[in-house]
Subunit: 347 residues, 2 copies
């Protein structure tokens, strides 16, 4: 980085006040990089078949947090690697994520996503499946442009793992036989693996094996913290105050960390309640309140938060190995704080 | 090839009598190669999630013709290239094909595929979409193993094109505004592109640019001949004699070559018939007979066959450029005859 750039960065940095979350300040710091990624996304979701950019754009423009491409950008800046390739990979990662969301919405028969009507209801299930396939293929076309086999190996394996996680989740939906190891396997596969890959590819671009390993572990643990937090938010009263709906997972029979904690020491009577609501899917008025009361009884939300924090600690620790040689301390600090900040969305 | 191998091959060759179709004799000639491909398929559809190999295997084992992987094997033998990589790519091509069939079955709400209940009805739509995603990702993992960027470029682009073709077909279902250029674009994208890629990758493996170009054109024209023949078979009385159901495309409102020929010069009254059956989807008893009568009136089946033969000619001609230097005349001859043999399934 030359002096002018360095100063510009310090200048931007001053504007990023301490009240901002690391996610917000990373977004501000990497604003220009993200513009490049957005340009790639826009250009590469184009097709002669107009419905494709229309449907893909409907979801992509709907204001997701872009956290996965942001991780690719931040970790690439951290290692001072080729940013052109980082832009391409950040777009590929977002395409993979969008493709899985589109297929998820069809699979879950979603009605809403990011506060708007789900794409499958607007454009049709068939169209949504096929545009997902298109984005997925396009992601691989993007990756090929980097001329880096490690990158291709990482992201093609990750895509397989995501699909495996989704199938596993489907198989354990409405089943009390799910346990901690299966829950962790599911969220590890469907969420943490792409967080992990989004970070690891920067190490592969930099051809720096030690950093690659560290970033892989960082992304994985960050993803676990993120998903456990998300699963806990679904029962967090603070969210209801913010106008968000609670208990979506409960109604879909998805058994996540808070329920697993409440289930662990449950009485026979309580087990019958969970069996009726989650497995038999007979949900009556007051059942969500009963579920959250049981979580309260077993301190399930607090214990879920502790579990998320455990992964946040592991994420931070993963970065230790690249701390010494790291040239970009600003970004490093924010990446260290990011997992805790994600968890802090909870009560 | 050493003498022993060469003799073994001649020996196999003698068993392949002239009454066999080129497809059958290629299958016999490349029997051992295909065993390697089948082993790769079996090994790489494995997953710790048992439903995945179960569902994927249900379709893969159901006895498709394996024509696409066979093309990769035949063209790789033709160019005398690395067969280990050819096996890997043949399996990848079959995975891509299987993934699109699984998604097709969900999209078309199919009830039957290859004479058995469609996978979506046996395993569920959600499972079928996700296992399709898995196979698709696994295909890319396989390709990466070849360490060949041309191969990755060809197959990732082809996957995008297939998805585009599927979306286009969906948009023109039940619409008389479809014309020849759109029909050709659809079948070119959803069928001919993968035939083309299955052949082209052998040229990429051999790093022989001229052969690669020739094989790309060969596969494309072969795929067009194949699909037009398939679309025509749907109305071919000879098929009914073989116990196959007729008129599936008619009932689904898919407008293919035979209908396009019948539509071209249709009277106002006939247009009303097509509008009612295909667009409004009001199908009464005797309508399929009326549709085939109109095809007869306009010689639509014969003209469809001629169109398929036109592409068969082009396919054969595409091979001229590699004829001179070709070491494997046996396979060359069969590849030259293959397109005509596919078309000859018609009346």
């Amino acid at each position: 980085m030359d002096m002018a750039q360095s100063m510009a960065q310090t200048d931007t940095d001053l504007k990023v006040q301490s009240t901002h979350s690391p996610l917000e300040s990373l977004t501000t710091l990497l604003h220009e990089d993200m513009e490049h990624v957005n340009a790639t996304i826009l250009q590469d979701m184009h097709s002669d078949v107009p419905l494709i950019p229309q449907l893909a754009g409907y979801l992509i423009a709907s204001g997701g947090k872009r956290i996965r491409p942001l991780l690719t950008l931040a970790t690439s800046r951290l290692l001072n690697t080729d940013m052109e390739h980082a832009y391409t990979l950040a777009a590929a990662v977002e395409f993979i994520h969008t493709a899985t969301l589109l297929h998820d919405d069809v699979v879950d028969e979603s009605t809403e996503r990011r506060g708007q009507t789900a794409a499958n209801l607007v454009f049709g299930n068939q169209e949504t499946v096929l545009v997902g396939d298109f984005l997925f293929s396009r992601a691989f076309q993007l990756m090929v442009r980097t001329n880096n086999f490690d990158v291709l190996r990482i992201l093609s394996e990750t895509s397989s793992i995501i699909a495996e996680g989704e199938v596993l989740q489907l198989q354990y939906q409405r089943s009390l036989s799910i346990d901690w190891s299966i829950y962790k396997k599911i969220i590890g596969a469907k969420t943490a693996s792409l967080f992990s890959a989004a970070c690891e590819v920067s190490g592969a671009l930099a051809q720096d094996e030690e950093s690659q390993k560290a970033l892989k572990a960082y992304g994985y643990n960050l993803g676990m913290a993120f998903q456990i937090t998300d699963d806990t938010l679904d029962y967090d009263a603070k969210q209801a105050e913010l106008g968000k709906s609670l208990g979506d997972d409960f109604r879909e029979g998805k058994i996540t960390a808070p329920i697993l904690f409440a289930l662990e020491d449950s009485t026979e009577e309580e087990k019958i309640f969970w069996e009726r609501t989650l497995v038999q899917h007979i949900i009556q008025e007051g059942d969500l309140e009963q579920a959250t009361a049981l979580m309260h009884k077993y301190d399930a939300l607090k214990r879920s938060k502790d579990l998320a924090e455990h992964y946040a600690q592991k994420a931070k620790k993963s970065l230790e190995k690249i701390e010494k040689n790291c040239l970009n301390k600003d970004i490093l600090r924010r990446l260290q704080d990011l997992p805790f900040s994600l968890v802090s969305r909870l009560f």
